[in-house]
């Protein structure tokens, strides 16, 4: 299914507009929904445009093996996983090196937000399933996992809001999609605890000058604020609907 590549190298920004019509600082339509599964203790479905990620949280629960517990805190166990149908070419279900790395960086982006000290000797399991991949899946995954944690009633210092900044055709853009990632110059995924002003994830794939780097950070912060508002709104909606019952 590589027909998509035929049109490579076509300009990604023309007349100040990106190929999907957005301005450089526009985020794709966000759709967040909480408590979408019955079995999990918490769950959320998150969409940034065509990027669609489901997250579920089980726990705090018995970690099973004794050797996986810590005496003073809960351990987080996190899996970032892509459905075979989520990508252009079917993805083999076995975990790729990329998924193994991203499970780690996603866990490390969530660790500072969870008040793990409340649940010593337990495990909190976070499962992220990428259902459809159109760029920014790890940051959408962080956003979804943080909603699922909140939905599971796990105490947190703040929500974690994920967003990716990119550089395409020399311009910094917010919330890059897959095409921009593939043909652009840089992809910088970030995650923030917005009300605390803390960065919990930052990676850069590609090339930036130092000046661009600082601008990208600011742009990311701006985007994260919007994601954060949408997160709070989704929780409010869920909370309200529970109230009504």
């Amino acid at each position: 299914m590589s027909e998509e590549k035929v049109e490579a190298k076509r300009k990604l920004i023309e007349g100040g507009k990106r190929r999907d019509g957005r301005g450089p600082e526009d985020i794709r339509p966000l759709h967040f929904e909480v408590r979408v599964l019955k079995n999990a203790n918490g769950s959320a479905l998150v969409q940034y445009g065509n990027t669609k990620v489901l997250a579920a949280v089980y726990g705090p629960r018995d970690p099973g093996a004794r050797s996986m517990a810590l005496p003073h805190r809960a351990v987080l166990r996190c899996r970032y996983h892509m459905a075979p149908f989520s990508t252009h070419e079917r993805k083999s279900p076995a975990p790729s090196r990329r998924e193994i790395e991203l499970s780690k960086v996603v866990r490390e982006a969530l660790e500072p937000a969870v008040i793990t000290e409340s649940f010593p000797r337990t495990a909190i399991d976070i499962f992220i399933e990428v259902l459809n991949a159109d760029g920014g899946t790890r940051t959408a995954g962080i956003t979804a996992a943080s909603l699922a944690l909140a939905d599971a009633g796990i105490p947190m210092r703040d929500l974690v809001a994920g967003i990716a900044v990119g550089k395409v055709d020399g311009v910094l853009v917010l919330d890059i999609n897959e095409e921009e990632d593939m043909y652009g110059e840089a992809d910088m995924p970030m995650a923030f605890m917005p009300s605390l002003g803390l960065i919990t994830l930052i990676q850069l794939n590609g090339t930036l000058s130092e000046e661009e780097f600082w601008s990208a950070i600011e742009l990311g912060l701006k985007g994260a604020e919007k994601v954060y508002e949408a997160q709070k709104e989704a929780l409010r909606k869920r909370y309200a609907s529970v109230e009504q019952v």
Partner: protein
């Protein structure tokens, strides 16, 4: 090694008794009669990157089926046939009893039940999926993703598979005669050649009671399950007994009657997804 399950959530004895008391009056714990199937909701096209996809809710059970068509080589002994590959993942977000890792025996069994229900009756016309005989064919991957487990994963998967297959579109493939290369035309998209609509129906046996479309609570107390696949022309295209119990012949008779009726119930509930646009 297949091992007697040891991690089944314990159903309190009271709950078990309640289920059986109700069944003795032909009632079920969720208010259904033994022959009632649960409500079905289907959303098509939920996975833009797939050639076809369906998100099915059967009661509170949720399954996504995604279809991917990729160009590959035929097997040596079937040079004039495309390939059908069915895979199921029981990802751990769907149930506390699912573990991360390669598919376990339950996921493999489910994928193989769906595969067999379609394959021998030639529900998909694999001969129509040849691009260059002996060299290039379409591989049709059916990936079943269970995302919430509230019982009867097989039927939910079967419904999702059929809906996804019927709604799938694959780019028209032609061959550049000079270079012998395959050219895909994304503007003209073809349907997948589905010859027969096949659906499975699962019946649970709880002591001497039989119920269709069991919920998770019912599965947990059931002795055994019987899954029967039917094609639209009334043929039986597959059977699987699962679970640690037994069936008498009279159970089979009753199960067959229940299944035939439930098949009609499934079909009528999803009829709007069985016609192609």
């Amino acid at each position: 090694m297949s091992i007697t399950p040891v991690d089944i959530p314990v159903i309190p004895a009271l709950k078990r008794t309640a289920i059986l008391n109700l069944l003795s009056r032909s009632q079920r714990i969720d208010g259904r009669s033994p022959s009632d199937t649960r409500n079905i909701e289907i959303s098509l096209g939920v996975i833009p990157n797939a050639n076809g996809s369906a998100h099915v809710k059967l009661g509170l059970t949720q399954v996504i089926a995604g279809i991917k068509a990729e160009i590959g080589s035929p097997f040596q002994d079937t040079p004039n046939m495309g390939n059908l590959i069915v895979n199921a993942e029981f990802v751990p977000l769907a149930s506390p009893t699912f573990e991360p890792g390669p598919p376990d025996e339950r996921a493999i069994e489910l994928a193989r039940i769906i595969d067999r229900s379609l394959r021998d009756v030639r529900a998909i016309d694999l001969e129509k999926l040849v691009i260059i005989p002996g060299r290039k064919v379409w591989n049709i991957f059916i990936d079943i993703y269970v995302i919430d487990h509230d019982g009867n994963l097989v039927d939910a998967s079967s419904i999702a598979t059929l809906a996804a297959l019927l709604s799938a579109k694959i780019p028209r493939a032609s061959v550049n005669q000079d270079k012998g290369e395959v050219i895909l035309d994304p503007a003209n998209r073809d349907e997948i050649p589905v010859r027969k609509r096949v659906l499975t129906v699962t019946v649970a046996k709880i002591e001497d009671h039989l119920v269709v479309d069991p919920s998770l609570e019912e599965e947990t107390v059931a002795d055994a399950l019987l899954t029967i696949a039917f094609s639209e022309d009334g043929l039986i295209t597959g059977i699987q007994k699962s679970g640690m119990g037994t069936f008498k012949r009279e159970h089979l008779k009753k199960a067959m009657e229940l299944a035939k009726n439930a098949y009609k119930s499934y079909i009528s509930q999803i009829s709007q997804f069985l016609v192609r646009s």
